[in-house]
Amino acid sequence: MTQAPALEVRNLTTTFAGGRLTAVNDVSFTVLPGEVLGLVGESGSGKSVTLRSIMRLLPASGAVSGHVRWQGRDILTMSDADLRGVRGGQISMIFQEPMTALNPVLPVFTQIEENLKAHTDLDRAARAARARDLMDLVGIPDAARRLKEYPHQFSGGMRQRVMIAIALAGNPTLLLADEPTTALDVTIQDQILKLILDLRDELSMSVVLVTHDLGVVAATCDRIAVMYAGRIVETGTVRDVFAQPAHAYTRGLLGSVPHAGTERSMLLSIEGTPPPLDRIPAGCAFNPRCDFATGPCRARVPVLEDLAPGRSVACFNRTAVTAAGSPV
């Protein structure tokens, strides 16, 4: 249980517009080797920005502080040359929309090969062979022919497989997946998630999976970190959090997912929408939408407190929330 984490994020804070907008606020979490961590929240909760901050992939207007420890070094302070070695080599990232994330004017082979060229010592012939192997690995049939094709000649699911093949080219030990299945049909979603899990086992990678879909989390993740308005509000194993959510927001998210096989009941929905970055409420950011909110919630920001090893929550009324039970 006391394994050294593969990735350790400490006090990560990302601001935009000269510090006026805070997209990620004092976020800390760890990823263990071989583990799948689900980073969950509604749109605008800061989960994608968190991923991109880890890789320093922000527009010029974004500023990141904190620490991202990776193999004894801090990604946020390393040189650009070192960063290039980490990006795509040790840590790979896949994006939500493979149609826009793959370059439309380059054949798939070029897009895989440039990654191999950047991160391996393979010669030309070996890179071509490896590119075919990668296509096989992610389940794209007829690899030799399809490598010559362009992204628009692939279906949505196949495109996402191409992106995964590119991500795997540098033999990463950590895969950052930003909503990898959101743009896909449900049946294709399952195939892609299964592929990611299989690859995790086969290549012993860790995975951080950003999603707003708790069904995806339940099916794939070992642990979960729930984000709201740029902060992590609850973490724990998927089993613990689903069985006994301790934050009102987590409880609301779980209540909004339909479940097959159980008695029919009304779906809970969380009233309202997440606050825009320039109007985050005082106190707990969730308090205007929260059924459990009391005086302290409007005055102070709750900090993450450990309930048990590996299980923490940032909620003043966690006892009441826990007592209300899981809606699942």
Binding site: R52, M55, L57, P59, L83, R84, G85, V86, R87, G88, G89, S92, M93, F95, E97, T100, A101, L102, N103, P104, V105, L106, P107, T110, E114, N115, A118, H119, Y150, H152, M163, I166, G170
Partner: protein
């Protein structure tokens, strides 16, 4: 392959285009005020002489017949004889057009050499001093008329400083290049301003694209990201604009050749229009139109090469 059938299709499309050009040229020349017979013979010509000239030139026949004769001879490469110079038009064009083509190609190259690096500087330093300087300078270049700019360059670098000849075409290829440099520069400036603005906007549109972010996430070198992922995608629209600008460039060559006294097709065109030299005007217009059509074809091919989705 896709590309081969695309080229064939594109070549077939040239046929109706060329036919249309022939009709337009034929009609336009006949709509010009004045007629060749009085231009040749002067105001006090006798009616009999006018009739004789018209008969010699075939102008006494009906328009459809004139067009049929015209189309047939063009198709066989015979563009007739110049009324004034008494030379075959094809020969005249063969002598003069290459000069204009060389001038245009030089101008296009200079324009691209200016536009591409400066577009990158402006786009990558968007909103900062370098961006403002580049855009401001090009705004001036864009708003200045070609003949005025030509005269300034001619006065400063030709007459005052003596670095370049003030006119003419010179002897031998290198001397041609030397003589054509100032006129080409004159022509290039407004084109490079247009290209720079377009490419700058295109680069800004592409640089935040997801596939560029993905390329960064792959740990590629910035230079490779710019050349392979950014430039290639940004160029697609700029190449289209470049192709469309070639026609304008040829039009600008007419003025430039006049200012710099270059014996190119532009000068020939101006002289022939004044002299009502119908066969030369017709022949030149056709030659220039074919040239522009071929440029469009080339543009399409470059685009198809840049963007595989075009050739579908």
């Amino acid at each position: 392959m896709h590309l081969a059938s695309f080229i064939v299709r594109r070549l077939l499309q040239l046929i109706p285009t060329l036919l249309f050009i022939l009709i337009v040229v034929f009609v336009l020349v006949r709509l010009l005020p004045g007629d060749p017979a009085s231009a040749i013979l002067g105001d006090r010509a006798l009616d009999a002489d006018v009739e004789r000239i018209n008969r010699e030139l075939g102008l006494d026949r009906s328009l459809p017949v004139q067009f049929a004769v015209f189309a047939k001879s063009v198709a066989t490469g015979n563009l007739g004889n110049s009324i004034h110079l008494k030379l075959p038009v094809a020969e005249l064009i063969a002598a003069r057009l290459p000069i204009t083509i060389l001038l245009t190609v030089m101008a296009a190259l200079i324009a691209v050499l200016f536009a591409v690096p400066l577009a990158f500087v402006a786009a990558l330093r968007r909103g900062r001093a370098a961006d403002s300087v580049v855009r401001g300078a090009f705004q001036v270049g864009l708003s200045m008329p070609v003949f005025y700019l030509g005269l300034i360059l001619l006065t400063v670098f030709g007459a005052r400083l003596g670095w370049f000849p003030v006119g003419g075409y010179g002897d031998g290829f290198l001397d041609h290049l030397y003589h054509l440099f100032l006129p080409a520069l004159t022509l290039a400036l407004s084109l490079s301003a247009i290209l720079m603005r377009n490419l700058r906007a295109a680069i800004i549109g592409v640089i935040d694209a997801e596939y560029v972010q993905f390329a960064r996430a792959k740990g590629l070198r910035p230079r490779l990201i710019l050349s392979r992922h950014v430039l290639r995608n940004a160029l697609i629209s700029t190449v289209a604009l470049f192709g469309l600008s070639i026609g304008t460039l040829l039009g600008g060559a007419v003025i430039t050749e006049t200012v710099f006294a270059i014996p190119g097709a532009g000068r020939l065109m101006v002289d022939s229009i004044y002299g009502r030299d119908y066969p030369v005007v017709q022949g030149l217009t056709i030659a220039l139109a074919v040239l522009v059509s071929l440029t469009f074809l080339l543009t399409d091919l470059v685009q198809a090469w840049l963007d595989p989705r075009v050739a579908r």
